[in-house]
């Protein structure tokens, strides 16, 4: 009987026991948990400082159980740079959405990655601005309807969606860049492995690591949570191929 009372699944210590504000079917919760599990398993929580973005996950410091800074829109990599340069003994990660990172914060992420700043970026890409109510992002797919491209994204008007991981992988300095997804249990397991590896590399003092996680936005995509997972599989994966874009043995400094 004693065997049966053993805890086999619990909330990671790196997450607080609180209810989140995320919409039903949003995968921020899963991604939060994967990061928290990685911090727990590597024993990093007590020396970790996160940097929150502006967007849906601005309040993520209410859910994580570690020190946190709240950055202006897009500037999380600059805050993380300043912090980590002064505290190289600490573990630092930014948690940023695609509007925050790929639009207003593009300069900050490219230069932090290129300098090889020794922090980890969790880049959550759901191809839309969530918090402000579903506007076009630099990552919005061709033809995808949003409130600021009501007829669908027109490539002739605003160009192609940006593949951030591939873009950053052209830089020589970053040590590890991988795109993962969390729309199925198998993908979640793979995403966890990638996130944990990024933190391991940071703990080994390797320079810049980024995991791009494809995510859902049922509320602003205007489809059900179930259909959103299918939409990731069918549309996002087609344009944003999963996989390792930069390995530690490729030009780490």
């Amino acid at each position: 009987m004693e065997e049966q009372s053993k805890t086999i699944f619990d909330r990671p210590e790196s997450l607080r026991d609180v209810v989140t504000h995320y919409c039903p079917g949003c995968t921020h919760g899963i991604i939060h948990r994967l990061v928290a599990e990685a911090l727990d398993e590597l024993g990093l929580r007590e020396r970790t400082c996160g940097v929150a973005p502006v967007g849906c996950s601005v309040l993520c410091y209410n859910y994580y159980n570690c020190d946190f800074l709240e950055a202006p829109h897009g500037r999380a990599p600059a805050l993380a740079t300043g912090f980590k340069r002064l505290r190289p003994d600490m573990i630092v990660f930014t948690y940023q959405g695609d509007g925050d990172l790929a639009s207003i914060g593009m300069a900050e992420i490219i230069h932090a990655a290129n300098r090889g700043e020794k922090f980890t970026t969790i880049f959550v890409n759901n191809a839309i601005y969530g918090m402000t109510g579903g506007q076009m992002a630099p990552t919005t797919l061709e033809g995808q309807i949003t409130s600021t491209c009501p007829n669908g994204r027109n490539l002739e008007d605003v160009g192609h969606p940006i593949r951030v991981s591939e873009l950053l992988a052209t830089l020589a300095t970053p040590s590890y860049i991988e795109r993962v997804s969390v729309h199925s249990p198998m993908h979640i397991i793979k995403a966890k492995r990638a996130i944990k590896k990024a933190f391991e590399l940071q703990a080994e003092n390797k320079c810049f690591t980024m995991i791009e996680v494809l995510s859902t936005c049922p509320t602003n995509w205007g489809i059900t949570p179930g259909d959103s997972l299918d939409w990731v599989e069918k549309n996002l994966l087609a344009y944003y191929p999963l996989g390792v874009k930069k390995r530690p043995d490729q030009g780490d400094k």
């Binding site: 929580r45 007590e46 020396r47 970790t48 400082c49 940097v51 929150a52 601005v58 309040l59 410091y61 994580y64 159980n65 570690c66 020190d67 946190f68 800074l69 709240e70 950055a71 202006p72 500037r75 600059a78 805050l79 993380a80 740079t81 300043g82 912090f83 980590k84 340069r85 002064l86 505290r87 600490m90 300069a107 900050e108 490219i110 230069h111």
Partner: protein, 359 residues
Amino acid sequence: MAKILMKGNEAIAEAAIRAGGKHYFCYPITPQTEVAEYLARRMPEVDGVFLQGESEIAVGNMVFGAAATGKRVFTSSSSPGISLMQESLSYIAGAQLPVVILNVMRGGPGLGGILPAQSDYFQAVKGGGHGDYRIICLAPSTIQEAVDLTIEAFYIADKYRNPVMIIADGMIGQMMEPVEFPDEINEPELPPKTWAATGAKGREPNIIKSLYLDPLRLEDNSIVLYKKYEEVKKNEVRFENYKVNKKNKVLIVSYGTMARICQTVIDELEAEDISVGLFRPISLFPYPEAALKEEADRANIKTVLTVEMSMGQMVEDVERVVKGAKPVKFFGRTGGIVPTPDEVKEQIKYLLRSESAKG
């Protein structure tokens, strides 16, 4: 310590190190780039951090992140770059972090020019970024004073957990003068920085933020800041008088390099038997309101003349303080033109002539 001959920008940079500001982030811009060049060499010698960022927007936010560690951080720029830092200054003030910023002012608006000006007064003293916050603002008129104020600025920033700006002009940055650094810096003890992000070991997490979605909480935060600024107004007022006496007919109000030129004006007019005094605000926020009011109210003062290297910015504070008790006049040149003593003298003589014409 013996005096050494140093350029203003380099002296301020060294003063920051002496005060413990050993963590510096920068982006090049004239006329203050020597600060960055000096610290690029100096920071490795003191085990400090030197980093050149990709823009002043990024640099302001690097300083934000660095200040969250609780260590003393410093940045410097000039007018257009300071404009780009306004985003981070608003957030840093909202999150109550201590940082020291140097603005070596050049002419504006826009790209303006690279020569000395004082046309960032409004930006520095009246806001700059969004929201209800203030920057403590100190204006040196000599390089020695720039050194002394920079050293003090780090303590003041820590004490109030607020950005402190050293506001100089291109002349202070570029000029060379003999300066002396204190052998040791004795500061009153400050409370431990329990707010800093140092890792949530054995304590609840520290969250450094400025977002309060509940309007009552946001109002509370603004009230906390307001009360802090009232304390600053009580404790941190700084000013200096020059040849202020009962014979003065005119009281000049001027700061920084311009105030120094006005001292020459006053000396030269004295030889012509024209008595003028100078009131020099050193802290621009908090503004030395009571002291200025007292001097302007003296019966012998017929006119208050504000002299600036701008089209008239601080003069609005002088008018606010004098409250119509005396006529407040303005003389200024801008765009990088530094008024000569003769120009200011002419202005004063003109004022006195029109006074006597009025009887």
